[in-house]
């Protein structure tokens, strides 16, 4: 049997090579740690930490205070240098890069800080527009992008406000909007729900789910709150015919494959896998962490 001048086998080969070309980039992990060590004086912060964050995946990093969760994010951004091991962002080893080269890498990454870390002297608009303003983007394009991002985090009305006029939850959402400007393929969340009331914390988690399922963003979500784990690892976002976003629970028959949990203790990874596996692990520390007793 032939399709035009080509045999079926030739056609299959052609499609196969097209698919490989198209998705080859997706095989490279968004972030990869290989045996990363870090110590401050005699205190070990990270001890031979290795993991991969795949494209479009969300990795929930759990652990108590001082377990090294936020350090991982600072290493990805190049704000800290590892003592040993290798860190890859988009396939590029970054631990040997200087500040100037790191600026280029950081443009691929959006970062959401614990308290928002908004610039006090700038308005919400200027905060969200910061990256584009620095890159001398056309003002009309900046305004369009800022409005789009503020709409994404449901803060259209806050555009002219100053950070001091915003509540804690609004500050975090503006922080998320600022991190998403420029469409970074990687977003890092550093305890974005700490100190927020449950409904606001839920809103932040929904934004993370939307980014994962609708925008194909790879993210590291550092947290020590079990509610966040519950929401992000068991719900997914879909868009209905009217363009409305809905959050659906995975249920008994479905397991989200684009979300993994990694748990740290004293700088070492003590668990890596799905949330269902985490709940079955027979480790007293993990049990206590999950149940609080």
């Amino acid at each position: 049997m032939s399709l035009g001048d080509k045999t079926i086998n030739e056609k299959i080969d052609e499609i196969e090579s097209e698919m490989v070309d198209r998705f080859a980039g997706r095989l490279i992990p968004a972030i990869e740690f290989r045996d990363v060590d870090l110590a401050f004086d005699d205190q070990i912060i990270l001890d031979k930490v290795s993991f991969k964050l795949r494209r479009g995946e969300t990795k929930l990093v759990l652990g108590g205070s001082g377990s090294g969760k936020s350090t991982i994010i600072n290493l990805v951004l190049g704000l800290l240098k590892p003592d040993g091991g290798e860190i890859f962002v988009d396939g590029e080893e970054i631990s040997g890069l200087d500040d100037q080269e790191l600026m280029r890498v950081r443009k691929k990454i959006g970062m959401v800080f614990q308290e928002g870390a908004l610039f006090d002297s700038l308005s919400v608009f200027e905060n969200v527009a910061y990256r584009l303003t620095e890159e001398n983007v056309d003002p009309d394009e900046i305004e369009h992008e800022v409005r789009r991002m503020l709409h994404f985090v449901d803060l259209d009305d806050a555009i002219d406000k100053m950070p001091s006029e915003l509540s804690g939850g609004m500050r975090r959402r503006v922080g998320i909007a600022r991190a998403l400007v420029g469409n970074p393929s990687i977003v890092l969340f550093d305890e974005p729900t700490a100190g927020l009331d449950p409904p606001t914390a839920r809103t932040i988690c929904e934004l993370a789910i939307k980014l994962r399922d609708l925008e194909d963003v790879s993210s590291i979500f550092v947290t020590h709150e079990m509610n966040n784990l519950e929401y992000i690892s068991s719900e997914y976002a879909i868009v209905d015919g009217k363009g409305q976003v809905h959050f659906v629970e995975e249920g008994q028959s479905l397991c989200l494959i684009n979300t993994e949990v990694m748990m740290l203790r004293q700088g070492s990874i003590i668990f890596s896998g799905k949330d269902e596996q985490l709940r079955k692990v027979d480790d007293p520390y993990i049990h206590k962490f999950i149940r609080g007793k």
Partner: protein, 256 residues
């Protein structure tokens, strides 16, 4: 950490900051708007305290010096003594100390607060160099505005001395001004303007370094502000001695 190691680390940090801020001048983006804002805040904002300091320093020089000059019958040299003291030493040093107190503290507090609230980390995460965006404009503004503020302090000091001499000791203002004009040489003026260039650099570097290396939350901000002002002031006094000696050698053969 022993004091010598700590000092060497501080020196290394300040030198690196100087290098990064100089490099910030060569590369784009250059923050001209930020430089203008800082010139306004540092230069224009400090003008009144510098004018007042200069005026009353000139006044007190006459108040304390005139009786001695009168004792030796040298009242006509009052203008020269005030002008020389102000232009060579007191104008540059006192202006720098006032600016270190007002601006140095503000810079270290602002940058320190930005560090503890993770705004500096956010800036770096967004692909901006804090040295280029925050340090370079402040240092440029200080180096440009401090010599101008010093000139203002010198002029007001000479004027203040003249007014006090006229009002309290009935010295003719024309005699006073002529004496001041005769007593000052071009080397005095050059020395008086070149010192603030270095003092501005010292205030900018020390304050920015202290602010950017803040640790320990809001208490740490307070510590940074205190050490920024103290270290800037001490460095200014020490640098003044060495600058005076260097300028003396440079202009040797003149009245130095």
């Amino acid at each position: 950490m022993n004091p010598v190691t700590k000092f060497l680390f501080e020196l290394q940090g300040i030198t690196l900051l100087l290098w990064r801020s100089i490099r910030g001048l060569r590369r784009k983006p250059r923050y001209f708007g930020e430089i203008i804002t800082q010139l306004d805040s540092i230069g224009v904002g400090s003008i009144w305290i510098v004018i007042l300091t200069g005026f009353f320093t000139g006044g007190v020089l006459i108040l304390q010096g005139y009786p001695t000059l009168a004792y030796y019958g040298a009242q006509s040299s009052a203008g020269q003594s005030v002008a020389t003291a102000l232009v060579r030493e007191l104008g540059p040093v006192l202006s720098a100390l006032m600016v270190a107190g007002r601006v140095g503290s503000a810079i270290s507090a602002e940058l320190g607060s930005m560090v503890v609230s993770q705004q500096i980390d956010a800036m770096r995460a967004l692909g901006t160099s804090p040295a280029r965006k925050l340090v370079t404009p402040r240092i440029i503004a200080l180096v440009v505005s401090l010599p101008l503020l010093t000139v203002a302090a010198d002029m007001c000091g000479i004027l203040g001395g003249g007014i006090i001499a006229q009002q309290l000791y009935n010295l003719d203002l024309t005699v006073y001004i002529t004496s001041a004009q005769m007593g000052l040489s071009i080397t005095d003026l050059l020395a008086g303007i070149s010192k603030p260039l270095v003092f501005g650099l010292i205030i900018g570097l020390v304050s920015c370094h202290k602010g950017l290396t803040t640790t320990g939350g809001t208490v740490g901000v307070g510590r940074s502000v205190t050490s920024a002002v103290v270290q800037s002031s001490v460095c200014i006094i020490i640098a003044d001695f060495f600058l005076s000696k260097i300028l003396q050698n440079f202009f040797s053969g003149t009245i130095f």
